[in-house]
């Protein structure tokens, strides 16, 4: 599965980077979202995959081995939530900028502070 996921991650990064460089501010934010997905999967896959054994210690035992790696999961969990916060902020910023400037073209926004 690593091989397939590696390609998925590559495509996610490629499309994310490509979208970041569009002139439309909406596409830029979509690019951010794609990058966030790519990054989550990158951390998840790079740490090694284990099929279907969640990192939960069964009742009656003190510790487990041979479960999915819990550490990247903890990292990704907060990353997902934070990327939501960042995206929400970016979206509202774009919305507000569009309202104020009257365009979603980033090239037209570059001179608005002068």
């Amino acid at each position: 599965m690593e091989a397939l996921l590696a390609i998925v991650i590559g495509v996610l990064y490629a499309s994310g980077v490509y979208m970041l460089m569009r002139r439309s501010i909406v596409k830029l934010i979509i690019g951010l979202a794609l990058l966030a997905h790519g990054a989550s999967l990158l951390v998840f896959t790079a740490a090694g995959l284990t099929r279907a054994v969640p990192p939960v210690i069964p009742y009656g035992e003190k510790a487990v081995t041979a479960v999915a790696d819990p550490l990247p999961q903890a990292l990704i969990l907060t990353a997902i939530v934070i990327s939501f916060g960042v995206q929400a902020f970016a979206m509202v910023l774009a919305y507000r900028a569009y309202q104020t400037v009257g365009t979603d073209d980033l090239d037209d926004m570059k001179a608005t502070d002068t």
């Binding site: 969640p54 939960v56 009742y59 969990l77 907060t78 939530v81 916060g85 929400a88 509202v92």
Partner: protein, 140 residues
């Protein structure tokens, strides 16, 4: 949105999902779940309700403004770390204890309080975004 089925469903779903979110929050330490997921479930339920009716009706369910929920959440999370300092341990060392509550043996600790803080913060942040945007839209 004006859909009778959605409206009726969302009302029941709200109650159910609220209970489910608390369930996820409380069991999160031992089973899949936790403050993040629990908070998101409640926020999603409230959002659904806001879509079915409108944001004003949804806000009736909130005891206070969304900002205040965030503030309480952060406060709870930060305060949970302080208890250990009274014992001379570093900030945020988990403290656990057994409490007898109406004959139930409760196993409670500061990480739970921390998770409640996470829960409240997540709920507050999602709501503040939804409410701000929706009211902006409704105003225009």
């Amino acid at each position: 949105m004006n859909s009778l089925i959605l409206r009726t469903a969302s009302r029941f779903l709200l109650i159910l999902l609220f209970q489910f979110s608390i369930f996820l929050l409380l069991r999160g330490h031992n089973d899949p779940g936790g403050g993040f997921v629990g908070g998101l479930v409640l926020a999603a339920a409230l959002t659904l309700y806001a879509i079915a009716y409108d944001v004003r009706s949804m806000r009736r369910f909130l005891p206070c403004r969304a900002q205040t929920i965030i503030a309480w959440g952060l406060l709870a999370a930060a305060v949970s770390g302080i208890f250990s300092m009274f014992k001379g341990q570093p900030f945020m060392t988990g403290q656990w204890g057994h409490f007898d509550f109406l004959g139930l043996d409760l196993h409670l600790g500061t990480p739970l309080l921390f998770d409640i803080g996470v829960y409240l913060t997540v709920v507050g942040v999602v709501l503040i975004v939804i409410i701000s945007l929706a009211e902006e839209v409704e105003d225009d």
